[in-house]
């Protein structure tokens, strides 16, 4: 299915990532965004609000984030493609309903322009410390998809990608961007509508009285209908059977909740997108995502100038995590270097997948700023030099840390 001409603002733009995501949502056929203003994500909502009426879409500013995400789940069941936009505190408020959306197998997109935390934190500056919250933030077992764009162009492209994944797997999809990418202004090329491929909703088209709302297709994803189409749906966040009726016992918990996980995990190969460079003969591999991957490029260049064989693996999809790929590489390389704007989140999944076969170096950075490429280069050198197998994640001491603590984190020395 191709994008609708009326929704696509074909042309070459010089815009920031937030705005690009708003344009991407419309191009993806999003008809409803509900949101609540929060820096640094607001420009995406503002951009969508301006262009929505022409595309037959609407933006509504709800009374809070609890309402925003509830409204988009409702609107998705009324048949619309929907998205909400938030950051930091707003993201925390949305957690319960993210799980509700996952339980109901509702396709929707959530754009999180991450800022520095915790709490109110640093509203106007960057962060990547919501990565684990994206995966585990709502209570109970479930899986969803999270992607991490690293440029305004990708915020356009990946917003469309997020909608396509949401429809295909009927799950919430998180766009885990960050303030740098959201507020960075670059060239964004919006193609013509016929060049944009869209995933249609998995509509059920059989006889209404034979519809079973949670009966999965072969790829474990069920077909959907919308409210108002005569199916007498009963949709509940309670544990339910294939009819949607509440059940309590452990057999159903196993059968049904397990499928919510399996429908993502068994389709991992189709979902995961990675960008790999010079991995063939690499001794060290930098694993990064979002703005950190842009900074890492310079660090990698510097290390190569020093003769280190270093490869680059960028996580475009962060969740589900590419376990098998990391495990396979761990058998060949000496170390992974993971720069992220937090004190260690995705790095522990890299370490988990190494099974002790390679060292793992974390290059931490608190919110409100990005790494120095020199730090990433030095971390690569450290990884290349270390011959012993270190039985923990090695925490690289950045120049900033040395400056602030005069020689290292006080607690740890």
């Amino acid at each position: 299915m191709k994008a609708d001409q009326r929704d696509v603002l074909t042309g070459v733009y010089y815009i920031d990532g937030d705005v690009a995501s708003g344009y991407g949502a419309l191009a993806a056929g999003c008809k409803f965004i509900a949101g609540y203003p929060i820096t640094p994500s607001t420009e995406a909502a503002e951009a969508f609000a301006r262009i929505a009426p022409k595309g037959g879409a609407m933006f509504i500013q709800m009374e809070d984030e609890l309402a925003s995400i509830s409204a988009i789940v409702g609107a998705a069941w009324a048949g619309a493609k929907t998205m909400t936009i938030t950051s930091g505190p707003g993201y925390s408020l949305m957690m319960e309903t993210i799980g509700y959306g996952a339980m109901l197998e509702t396709p929707f997109v959530l754009l999180n322009i991450q800022r520095g935390g915790p709490s109110t934190g640093v509203p106007t500056k960057t962060g990547q410390a919501d990565m684990m919250q994206a995966r585990w933030g709502s209570h109970g077992d479930y899986e969803l998809i999270a992607i991490a764009p690293d440029s305004p162009q990708e915020l356009f492209d990946h917003t469309i990608k997020a909608f396509n994944l949401a429809e295909k797997y009927r799950c919430p999809v998180m766009i885990m961007a960050d303030e740098c990418v959201g507020h960075m202004t670059e060239k964004v090329v919006i193609p013509r509508a016929e060049e944009i491929e869209l995933e249609p909703r998995r509509w059920y088209t059989g006889p209404p009285d034979e519809y079973i709302p949670f009966k999965p297709d072969e790829d474990l994803v069920p077909k959907m209908v919308k409210a108002g189409s005569g199916h007498k749906l009963f949709i509940s966040g309670r544990l339910h059977d294939e009819r949607g009726y509440p059940v309590d016992n452990e057999h159903f918990e196993l059968k049904y909740v397990r499928r919510l996980i399996d429908k993502i995990m068994c389709n991992k190969d189709k979902i995961i997108e990675l960008k790999e460079e010079q991995l063939d003969d690499a001794d060290v591999v930098v694993v990064s995502y979002g703005i950190s991957s842009r900074v890492a490029v310079r660090g990698i260049e510097m290390a190569r100038e020093k003769g280190i064989k270093v490869g680059n693996l960028r996580l475009i999809t962060v969740w589900p995590f590419p376990d098998e790929r990391i495990t396979e590489l761990a058998k060949k390389v000496k170390a992974f270097v993971v720069p992220e704007i937090n004190y260690g989140q995705v790095v522990f999944d890299v370490a988990r997948c190494c099974h002790g076969n390679a060292n793992v170096v974390l290059v931490p950075h608190g919110g409100a700023g990005v790494h120095m490429p020199d730090d990433i280069c030095d971390a690569i050198l450290l990884g290349a030099k270390e011959e012993r197998k270190i039985e923990k994640v090695i925490e690289f001491k950045t120049q900033l840390e040395k400056l602030v603590f005069k020689g290292g984190s006080k607690l740890k020395e």
């Binding site: 409803f32 709800m62 309903t97 509700y100 919308k226 409210a227 966040g237 509440p246």
Partner: protein, 297 residues
């Protein structure tokens, strides 16, 4: 002798039209989910009965109605009514329903939930949906307590009444729900008890046919918690209390509708007015935007 004959004829007619039905309301109830979970003496079933009767009376296309509940004993209502039904999260029924309504304005949307769900955790959505005048009927079953979780205090618990988390009596004044709805902008506001099944049914019919944010409060016994904790007897005793203390005052100023512990309950239709609904305003605005009349600021 003429009159009883007509009555009998009428009765026979009703019977024959529902002859193939196992239950007179099986059209609108999910018979495969019965028995329900509610306790003996609970009033929620009466509110559902009134609602089911109203659905048949209001003559609206049942495939175009959505019923949305939050969480609680009353939150289970959506699961027993044979409409497109959604059982949402605690407090978010109105927000969820707002999404459905604006994404598909052809739908008739009903929110059916408890006092705690709608007025405490969901209170913000309640006042904002009223302000926007979203076209929906909100049925609030007010049993003065958090029943599902075992009898904790609610923002509707009368002063001095006991609750498990107010073991020495409630110290906070309760919300007067019709006043809250009225002052937030609702276009239809009524309160009945579950003793007034016929009037409650009529209120549902009127509210279903009303365009805009309509609120019907149904005061209802919680035999398991509220009346037991407060030593008020069982469900039937609560009905007796309603019978002796409910006073019908249609058109009463909503300011005067506070409920004291075991005091008078003023019931009736208080508000029935016109205000442009959200959808109407939106469509008018949209045509201006599209026609270039409303320029971006």
């Amino acid at each position: 002798m003429q009159t009883p004959k007509t009555n009998q004829q009428k009765k026979i007619q009703v019977d024959s039209s529902s002859m193939d039905r196992i239950h007179p309301m099986e059209n609108v109830l999910r018979m495969d989910r019965i028995p329900h979970i509610w306790c003996p003496g609970c009033g929620i079933g009466l509110a559902v009965t009134a609602f089911a009767a109203a659905l048949e009376k209001a003559e609206i296309d049942l495939s175009k109605i959505v019923i949305v509940s939050g969480i609680g004993c009353t939150g289970r209502v959506a699961g027993y009514v044979k409409l497109d039904s959604f059982h949402t999260t605690h407090g978010r029924a109105i927000a969820f329903a707002t999404g459905i309504k604006v994404a598909n304005p052809d739908m008739k949307v009903v929110v059916f939930s408890g006092d705690g769900d709608l007025i405490a955790i969901g209170g913000n959505h309640f006042i904002h949906a009223a302000r926007r005048n979203i076209d929906m009927l909100v049925v609030c079953v007010n049993n003065f307590i958090y029943a599902m979780t075992g009898g904790q205090v609610a923002p509707t618990t009368p002063l001095t009444a006991y609750a498990t988390t107010c073991p020495f009596g409630c110290v906070e004044p309760p919300f007067n729900i019709p006043y809250l709805a009225d002052s937030s902008g609702a276009v239809y506001v009524a309160r009945w008890t579950t003793l007034h099944v016929r009037r409650l049914t009529n209120a549902f019919v009127e509210a279903l046919n009303k365009k805009g944010f309509s609120v019907v409060e149904a005061i209802s016994p919680c035999a398991q918690y509220y009346s037991r904790i407060n030593r008020l007897g069982d469900g039937l005793d609560m009905m007796r209390y309603y019978h002796d203390n409910a006073e019908i005052r249609n058109g009463e100023d909503t300011k005067n509708l506070d409920i004291d512990f075991q005091g008078k309950i003023i019931v009736g239709k208080f508000i029935d007015r016109e205000r442009p609904s959200y959808t109407d305003r939106y469509n008018e605005w949209l045509s201006k935007v599209k026609g270039g009349e409303n320029e971006p600021g």
